[in-house]
């Protein structure tokens, strides 16, 4: 028969775990809201850049920029995998690492020189566990990636791309679609391909005749690297937001499981306690009967 005291001990420890997971859930919720605000601020910036490009297009400018052109002979490629520094967030890290390893194999088969860069401790250890050498790891990005930190990385890529040391940059990250849906995606950020959906940004203000200082070409020259930097920054932000959501969901599940466990342990404990009392009563009654 089960020992009531042991059961009670187990129930207490499950209760403690529940407290922890519940707190982590609340923290993740708060962090998610903060990260979400930052992500929407970045969206405001991206929208304005897109609008700017749309206005630029109205001048009939030929869009050609070295960053937009795909290179025929890809010699050097870099794969950037964005994961989290911490675990306990469900399949978040595992999914990204799996997609990253798959993309790495595909990339290595087609491009001679590949370089792997990983952000987040989980990704770094996950990749080295799989026997893939990580050329550079970043661990400074927590739930609030700063633009100047991301910009430093982006500038390095831009310089390498301009110098011909880099022909292709792929980023594996978790894209934030909405609060219920996040998706692991592989995106090629260099060459940029296009400057967003210019066609659909055909609003009324697009017909305003703008004066360009110094010239549309010069502005385009500046817009393209800027939009690359912002895109990369958005990847980091999406990763941060998705990590918090994943943690919230995982911790919510853990809390609910702990609730169930507590319920069933309480039932077992009560049953065992009642069983013991019944036994003692039986003993007593048996003793009384024997005496009389």
């Amino acid at each position: 028969m089960a020992n009531p005291r042991l059961l009670d001990k187990r129930r207490k420890s499950v209760k403690n775990i529940r407290k922890i997971t519940r707190t982590m859930e609340l923290i993740a919720t708060a962090r998610f809201k903060k990260a979400m605000d930052r992500a929407s601020a970045a969206t405001a910036y991206t929208n304005r850049i897109t609008q700017l490009v749309a206005d630029l297009m109205q001048t009939g400018l030929e869009v050609s920029h070295p960053l937009l052109a795909k290179r025929d002979n890809e010699q050097n490629a870099t794969l950037l995998v964005l994961t989290a520094n911490r675990g306990l967030c469900g399949g978040f890290n595992g999914n990204v690492i799996r997609a990253g390893a798959r993309q790495w194999d595909a990339l290595e088969a087609s491009v001679p020189n590949c370089r792997l860069e990983v952000s987040g401790k989980r990704g770094i250890s996950g990749m080295s566990y799989r026997g893939i050498a990580v050329a550079e790891g970043f661990t400074q990005f927590e739930d609030k990636p700063r633009f100047d930190e991301v910009e430093a990385i982006a500038t390095r890529y831009l310089n390498e791309f301009a110098a011909g040391k880099l022909d292709r940059l792929d980023v594996v990250y978790t894209r934030f679609l909405n609060a219920a849906r996040q998706q692991v995606v592989v995106e090629t950020l260099l060459p940029l391909g296009s400057l967003g959906d210019v066609e659909k940004a055909d609003s009324a203000s697009a017909n305003t005749p703008y004066e360009f200082l110094p010239s549309p070409e010069s502005i385009l020259e500046e817009v393209v690297p800027t939009s690359f930097k912002v895109k990369l920054f958005k990847c980091f932000l999406d990763t941060a937001v998705s990590e918090q959501i994943a943690r919230r969901v995982a911790m919510k599940g853990a809390t609910e499981n702990a609730d169930d466990l507590i319920k069933s342990l309480s039932m077992q404990y009560n049953r065992a306690r009642q069983g013991r009392i019944t036994n003692e009563l039986m003993d007593l009654i048996g003793g009384v009967n024997a005496l009389s």
Partner: protein, 135 residues
């Protein structure tokens, strides 16, 4: 007089946050080759920003920011300033700017791209230093 001129709305946006969202009487932003002043009724314009000081004047009070390149777009009395960084002048880090200036001046640059990059870093640091000195 300010009332007669009217106001225009300004938003200063960086990738991290919306720094300023307000209405002003006039503003001055640093373009790539000098400053430009913008009042109500300015013709639609898209300009490339340089590194330097942005001044917003509302009811005689001037607030000053450092902006770090980017773009300015003017249309229908709405001014959008898109920049990588916008900070109030007293938040500038003179020490970091000085290190950047010294470091980039020492750096050997070969090729057009490298020279352009170095010039950019130098002018960025110089703009910050001259603003700090003005405080």
């Amino acid at each position: 007089m300010a009332e007669a001129i009217g106001t225009l709305s300004v938003s200063v946006v960086t990738p991290e946050e919306t720094v300023v969202q307000t209405t002003v009487d006039s503003l001055v932003v640093p373009l790539f080759d000098g400053e430009i002043g913008i009042l109500r009724g300015h013709a639609p314009m898209i300009g490339r920003l340089g590194f330097g000081e942005m001044r917003l004047t509302a009811q005689g009070v001037t607030t000053r920011y450092y902006v770090d390149g980017g773009f300015v777009q003017v249309a229908d009395n709405v001014v959008s300033v898109l920049t990588g960084r916008a900070a109030p002048l007293d938040k500038l880090d003179a020490e970091a700017a000085r290190t950047q200036l010294e470091g980039s001046l020492k750096q050997l640059a070969t090729g057009d791209d490298a020279i352009a990059l170095r010039d950019r870093l130098v002018s960025q640091a110089r703009a910050q230093l001259s603003l700090v000195r003005k405080l």
